[in-house]
């Protein structure tokens, strides 16, 4: 069975918490979603960050600005999720919007083992 309702609901809740944490959480809070040996590729085609230390460091570079994040579309399939979300970043007078599609693979503890973010500079809108 690709989908069990319980697992699907647990993944939905985790992604919802992740989106809320991108808005107002710390790098530690965001790294806590990941398994110890997880990989993070953001954007896809760029550097792959391996392990929670590298992942925390990645998030440290993006949590210094004001963020607002909302989920647009979520699909849960097996142990994985794909979702489109809208991230608005404010840094001083500069405001911009990015709408990536991300995929996440979850282990049996509900931790993310692999995250990939699909976006490019062409998807960034200055507001």
């Amino acid at each position: 069975m690709p989908n069990s309702p319980d697992r699907s609901q647990a993944i939905t809740e985790t992604v919802t918490r992740y989106i809320a944490t991108v808005t107002d959480g710390s790098a530690d809070d965001l790294a806590a979603f990941y398994a110890d040996d997880a990989t993070l590729e953001d954007p896809v085609g760029g550097e792959v960050h391996i392990g929670t230390n590298a992942i925390r460091s990645f998030y440290s570079s993006v949590t210094g600005v004001q963020r607002d994040c909302e989920l647009v579309t979520l699909r849960v399939s097996g142990n994985e999720a794909a979702f489109h979300f809208r991230l608005t970043i404010t840094a001083g007078d500069n405001k911009m919007r990015i709408e990536p599609i991300e995929t996440m693979v979850f282990d049996s503890d509900g931790k993310v083992t692999a995250m990939k973010a699909y976006w490019s500079p062409a998807d960034v809108t200055q507001l």
Copy 2:
């Protein structure tokens, strides 16, 4: 560089042709998008179809009904794409809509080497 404009444009054009081919193409037409040793997982968590023969066979099972497919959101990142699309299927008096998010990895010839489709029965709407 995660994204070169030429590669990004070529992937955009391929995904656009793929969506049009899901609407009115044959299983052969759809299998032609894939590299010889490609993998197709649709839905994610289900069986992984390996190689163009298995992929053609997979598409044969879905090309017997009237389909209408449109692209909703596309992100191209490195050699990969993620896209949300809307598929309306009509079989006799039964009409339904599925809106998966798919990811595709492309090789240097522009062929798909891996496709994953994220959706579950919860995402199917009877019209």
